[in-house]
Amino acid sequence: MVSIMSVNKHQQVKKRDEVFSDKISTRIWEETASDENPYIASSARCHGYEITDLVEKCSFIETLYLLFRGELPGKEEAFLLEKLMIFLINPGPRHPATRAAMNAGIGKTNPEHILPIGLTILGGAHLGAGEIESSMRFLRKNFKKPVGNVMDMLLKEAVAPEEGDWHIAPGFGSRYGSIDVMPGEMANGFAELDADRKILKWGCEFAQLLAPHQMGWLMTGLAAAVFAELGFQPRYGAGLFQLLSAPGLLAHGMEQSNKPMTAMPFVKDEDYVIEE
């Protein structure tokens, strides 16, 4: 039964004494108001550096790293981040997120919605941004352990799905029933860039042990490993993955936007099966 106390509680809703901040606060960006108008910024600094100086003296990659990490990267960090950005620039026209953007394009969706549509679908937990944080946590937790022990533990505890691909660990598994070739090759290349890339090297050893099971690196695992190597916090991983994949989504979506609707397949009635 609902008690009298309960009814009273909900009839007399009271404000809590929570103290909210008076202002938004940030450690990232500082704007200085112009003398004439307090709403207009006359200068802006990113983690202390004048934006105009960054424009003049830094690359986009360096500025991006600064924005998230608070310091400019060393040469090796900037190089690795740039290589990952190139590798992730396009999930490709078969990826569901790209296809969502293409579908929006061909459907004549407003151009400003095409990228958010693709990015939203890219948020998925299967080969999308939703897998990055858990993959980063997996790598950070295990890369100091003997890779064979981790493998044995996973084979004992992880449960394969009845059908479809198996991600035995976040960022590692099969793609269409076999090893995804390109992320594995790229991971080997990245691991050789610098002797100190312990997470990438551990991931490559782990992928080798997975190979007899038709599994290996996935794109998400590779991205997670590089983000972890560069010191990004796991919670940033999802958004970074979306950011780096965004150009391809937009390019493919826009490519379709000037074509007629008939330029993409519409599944035939005989291939549309309503199951009982």
Partner: protein
Amino acid sequence: MLSKNKVVDTALWDKNRNKIYSKKGGWIIGKGVFSHGYDMMNDLVGEVSYMQVMILNATGRMPERRLADWFEAVHICLSWPDPRIWCNHIGALGGTMQTSTVAATVAGILANDSRSYGTRPILEGIAFIKGAMVKFNQGLSVKEIVEIECSKHGGKPYIMGYARPIAKGDERVLALEKIADKLGFSRGDHLRLAYDIEAYMLEKFDEGININGYVAAFLSDCQFSSSEVYRVFSVVVNSGITACFADVCDRPADTFLPLRCDDVLYEGKTARVLS
């Protein structure tokens, strides 16, 4: 067709190439549009409520009208036109940016996929009350159930479905109780247990049940799974966001809570020069 090097079994994907299998229904051109066996234009339009169709599409089951009316009441309870609410705030910011109505509303809906408020906590709310019912049936007391849950949070009264941010008490619980009575719903085992837990929470912590806890218990009694409820409520905050968007969009751009440069507190590194 097999590629010449193909050695991997790709039958699962081959079966689905260029073919859609649907357990839901679809448009059979020239014959009609079907959802779970219903002819939508003849069986549903004008015959059932939109909310009944929403639940049918999300769960595969056609609910009775009164249950759909109760679901609709929950949507009203979660669609406040107050732009201080986080998801509504996003709608309002879309308005001040002169974003499209759809984009602003969808952005707000996306924001309510949050672990703190909105739709997503219903997953945890249902998991809690169903788990509590199992423990209760195993012989644990309400006090013990609460203590186990609170022990996960250092003894603090953090139980999904109880207490709420900003305010104490939840006027929506009474509104939904009233509509449930009016529609002739009786209280099931989960809801009775939820209120027993509330009684203990009130006594011990001065915290009551919130709309999540009430809805979770009510729908557990109606045999809904948490994923079904999450799907039905995917756009539960929709209308409040649109309201806040519309209010702001009809005013001059950039006038919704405009910030002067000194309205933002900078706490970062002091000015430095690139070497």
